[in-house]
Symmetry: C2
Subunit: 312 residues, 2 copies
């Protein structure tokens, strides 16, 4: 019997001329035991049903202050601004995002390993984990741009070669999230459906949509179906609140003309058994700082508060 | 004693190099008696304090259906699409807004005169009134654009020559407003402050703002001051809900990537004693369909439901 090195593509996308909504082929929570710590039984049930949970004030104001201090220090460091990992505004040069932040800062490296997150991630994925992608985002007030609807997994599968749905995203709010500053919107339950995006232009395309369908973007009909089926929610809360969502949960955010900026730290945990292969879309892999491929380190949990001590 | 035909400019704007927050020079509610009908005492007090009130389901689902039927008919009428009053999408030609709708449609003409609105407007302005501007907006889902913060009065004063703050805007929701589809946001209390916008570039401009200050747009510092002082609210409600706001209340709306479109009818009532003069900014007046100058008709209230009967 021959063993193939390339895993089977169970989530094909960007191939057909018509979009399709397909069923999920993987568990939502990979552990089969009851949650021991980190998650209550109710929280685990909510994650299984909705594809996300939000935990208000998981981190204390003091811990948030430590993270903000570190963030400001990084954003004003010319050495960091010069790296590929730093995404700057074209006009002003102001740093808006820093990728691979767990590799650039000891403080954020410790945050990624904090036992309050790690205990939850371990239960959800039931495996050793590593960081597939990390970043901090500093979205300004007045002119925050929208982020259109997407399933992270579709991108990670097609462009990065992530074989299965065995990864979760963790967003740690560094500012308040309210209904006015463009908070994360999720469709609860959408993690059970997989939207295969269109990959070639269908012959009668102009009849279906007046707007050009973009490559790798969920189509409007499928998004309408999901929104009617599942609705939309946007978790609110003070800085230090955490939202944990499945890799296939449909999400996006509106723009932000409010004066209130929105910053967060974002870590993607992937099961070590789910390491990326060649991109299923056949393209050249994205850079290491966007999708970890070679530099994989299994994470060890650290006791709570470790990162705050580094700054104080 | 010589009488000047040009009213005094008590709200100068777009003149100085620095923005200023100045005090309101006019009453918020011009009647000095208690509200007789239309408004409760509590609603009148809320309007005085906040610069707006929202009345859920002022119009019935049947009335909304009649308005929607008329709106669809107008939006698909090639004759209307060819007029200056119709604002169409550049690519598709789809009608997005129709101005002077009270002059283009008997149904919307009757809506503008509905006694449920007129009784409130009469109390607030304490004068005969006419429509300074009207329009219907059909904002699509998925790609609704934001509308940046502004005081309507600043524009109407500088560009249209409206002398004083004695006008109100009435927005009738033709679709649900929820937190996801880019609803109207207002700063409650901001009607008491008048932001004079910058008009010439200050010498040290680059030190104050990294983003070019736009002409006639409230500056970020003033907006931050107002948001901290007053906060932000966004009325929600089913189709048929109505928001009535003072001409100087600071408002705007975020974009809308949700699948849910947002349509409304919008009427600006001005006191006949407050008719527009020459624009205080010295520019050529805007077209009649954007700011009524010659074709002024004093409005007579119609009994409730008049417009619904026209369609049925």
């Amino acid at each position: 019997m021959e063993v193939s090195l390339t895993p089977q593509d169970v989530y094909p996308s960007r191939i057909e001329a018509e979009p399709q909504i397909r069923g999920r082929q993987d568990p939502v929570i990979h552990s089969t035991t009851r949650p021991k710590n980190g998650l209550t039984t109710e929280q685990a049930a909510a994650f299984e049903r909705d594809g996300f949970i939000s935990i208000p004030s998981l981190f204390s104001p003091g811990e948030v202050a430590a993270l903000t201090t570190e963030l400001d220090s990084m954003a004003n460091d010319p050495l960091i601004a010069s790296k590929d990992e730093a995404i700057c505004e074209p006009d002003s040069g102001i740093v808006r995002s820093i990728f691979r932040v767990h590799g650039m800062s000891e403080v954020f490296a410790a945050l990624a390993r904090d036992e309050r997150i790690m205990n939850i991630v371990r239960h959800l994925l039931d495996d050793d984990t590593y960081i597939h992608q990390s970043r901090v985002n500093m979205k300004p007030g007045f002119a925050g741009k929208e982020f259109y609807w997407h399933s992270d997994f579709e991108t990670w599968h097609v462009e990065d070669g992530m074989p299965r749905m065995r990864a979760v995203s963790v967003s740690i709010a560094l500012t308040e999230n309210n209904e006015f500053n463009g908070p994360l919107m999720l469709m609860p339950g959408s993690h059970l459906d997989y939207i295969a995006c269109v990959g070639k232009t269908p012959d009668n395309h102009y009849k279906q949509s007046l707007r050009k369908q973009e490559y790798g973007v969920p189509d409007r009909t499928s998004l309408s179906v999901l929104a009617e089926k599942y609705g939309i929610v946007a978790p609110k809360g003070p800085a230090g609140s955490v939202t944990i969502f499945d890799c296939n949960t449909m999400h996006g955010s509106n723009g932000n003309i409010s004066p209130w900026p929105r910053s967060n730290a974002f870590f993607v945990y992937n099961a070590i058994s789910n390491r990326v292969a060649e991109p299923f879309g056949g393209m050249k892999p994205r850079p290491e700082f966007i999708a970890a491929r070679e530099n994989i380190e299994v994470l060890q949990a650290l006791p709570r508060g470790s990162f705050a001590q580094m700054v104080s």
